[in-house]
Symmetry: C2
Subunit: 339 residues, 2 copies
């Protein structure tokens, strides 16, 4: 059946106006979304506090939550990472650290991992911050590489986190981001990544993550936001918006060649928006077999000795290390994860 | 480094108490999440209204949004489905129809598709409702199959939607759900699905979706919720919670053998929680090339004739039907979809 579009035909000028209106509406949606995140944080903050107090008394709580993590995160957890989690992962916290900051974004968040004394690194706390930032053409999460103080011969990332930290320090001192590519630290990291290409990166490579696009500073982001607001104000006032000149600052550079952990923003987002709010449910999944109830036998089996290391280098199941390791690999049978 | 667990050792009784406390906390989280959904709906309702008014003037808005849909949804859109969307898909609406219903759930939602006169079916509106319901061991979305009035020889689901509707009608008349499996309508649908196994199901098979587990009636769900609340009240009051007897009502039946559209709940959830709130962004993606700005040429190319049907049976790109089809298959370059 032919579709009559006569009534829809629009001139380019009309369409331009339409897109301006669309941008206005979109910015209202973004403000609303920020408001929703703020409200959600306010509603849930006392519960998160209560949960933190509760799980402090539950052995292996966060190890088991991460063992039960969604596939999209599990894909990044290597066997040795599982050992680290089982052995010394003690506390975990997500915080929306810019939720009330007018210059920041309620979409920014940090992941804070707490560890006990262990054989791999000196750090008791590793905190990874993700800032929601803007450029003229992009918005998303960026992060600074976090230094991990690996013990001798124990660096699970084979020098990638250190090299990312070094590049970031050098990057902070350059004024022109297009010159970044000629820094020796850039070349070194790019080469390391290229060499390591076939090996699976440790989950701890996430601490080296910078961006799905490129590093964006707070200043650049503020400028982009300010410019956007001015454009929207003009549209709202019915003023002519200047055609944006295609400035000659297109990046010829593929910054992803120095990204240690591509997709790190997505992994972190799943951790912050799914695993953190639904941690109790993930924890419970460990004890559920085919949707059944807990039984005492299962509960009393929880505290097994964790020292029986699996040295075989095969896939390590945290359940086998901290739990009874009986459940097998299939996902929990009937429970639908709550959205 | 050996990990000292002596301080963590707990008796089965202590662990039982711990799990009761966990259930209490989890129910508080669920209430908070419902409150967040209600608040989000209240904040966004006026914007959705404004957007509906706006997109009524934008040709092919929803066709283009669905053309730009995330991979998890696109996997379910067959070439002929794309043709239907391009040809006659006019309006779309998601509604949280139980958001203020104390017996319902703010997680329930409906997808309402509006169509113009077309060659495939008589319906002008197809509405698919998803109810968030509970059983003793499960909670999730269930739905009733929706009758599609296919034109002669045009049923894209080869009788699957009709057969699902018939089974559901028969199911409503049976009193014992375990007898469902012996209904002739059950056998017929299971056989149809088995036969069709290799063919890709049309997106319109979503209208036949029932559940990722099994059908759960409003009555059964209310009973389960009531029972849960009583258990939690006992825990809160410090009373002994009876060990739940493993009732002999385990389902030996795999109800998924009559599910026309496995994963339909997940697809619908992505549509409701991602595509609906972010529709403006998906629409804009159509016009964005490598994160650049719109240009007039692109805008004026939007209103092409849609009657040049692609009869080859190859992958049909809605862009090629309603737009200029220039962009290729790669996802938008730099824009990160907002969470």
């Amino acid at each position: 059946m032919a579709h009559d579009h006569a009534e829809h035909e629009q001139t380019p000028e009309q369409l331009q106006v339409q897109f301006e209106q669309l941008s206005l509406l979109e910015s209202e949606f973004e403000d609303a979304e920020s408001e929703v995140i703020r409200k959600a944080e306010a509603i849930k903050a006392p519960l998160y506090k209560k949960r933190t107090d509760f799980v402090a008394k539950v052995p292996h709580f966060w190890s088991l939550v991460f063992e039960q993590c969604p596939q999209e995160v599990e894909n990044f957890i290597q066997p040795t990472d599982s050992e680290v989690f089982a052995e010394c992962f003690e506390t975990f916290e997500v915080s929306r650290f810019e939720v009330d900051d007018p210059k920041g974004s309620p979409r920014s968040f940090s992941l804070k991992f707490g560890f006990s004394e262990n054989e791999w690194f000196e750090d008791k706390t590793l905190e990874k911050k993700f800032w929601y930032r803007h450029t003229k053409d992009w918005d998303g999460l960026v992060s600074e590489p976090v230094k991990i103080h690996w013990k001798k011969g124990k660096d699970l990332t084979s020098g990638l986190t250190d090299a990312a930290v070094k590049l970031h320090e050098a990057r902070q001192k350059t004024t022109d981001r297009k010159k970044e590519v000629s820094l020796p630290e850039y070349k070194e990291l790019a080469k390391k990544i290229e060499t390591a290409e076939d090996a699976s990166v440790s989950f701890f490579g996430l601490f080296a993550f910078v961006s799905g696009y490129r590093w964006v500073s707070a200043e650049e982001s503020e400028t982009a936001v300010k410019h956007d607001k001015e454009q929207l104000a003009k549209i709202r006032a019915g003023e002519k918006v200047d055609e944006e000149e295609e400035e000659d600052d297109e990046d010829p550079q593929d910054y992803q060649e120095t990204e240690v952990f591509p997709g790190g923003d997505e992994v972190a987002t799943i951790i912050a928006e799914d695993m953190w709010p639904n941690a109790l449910r993930y924890y419970k999944q460990h004890f559920e077999e085919d949707g059944g109830e807990f039984d005492d036998e299962e509960l009393s089996d929880l505290d097994v000795d964790m020292d029986e290391d699996d040295e075989s280098g095969e896939e390590v199941d945290i359940r086998a290390l901290v739990g009874k390791g009986k459940k097998g690999d299939e996902p929990p049978a009937k429970k639908q994860r709550k959205a």
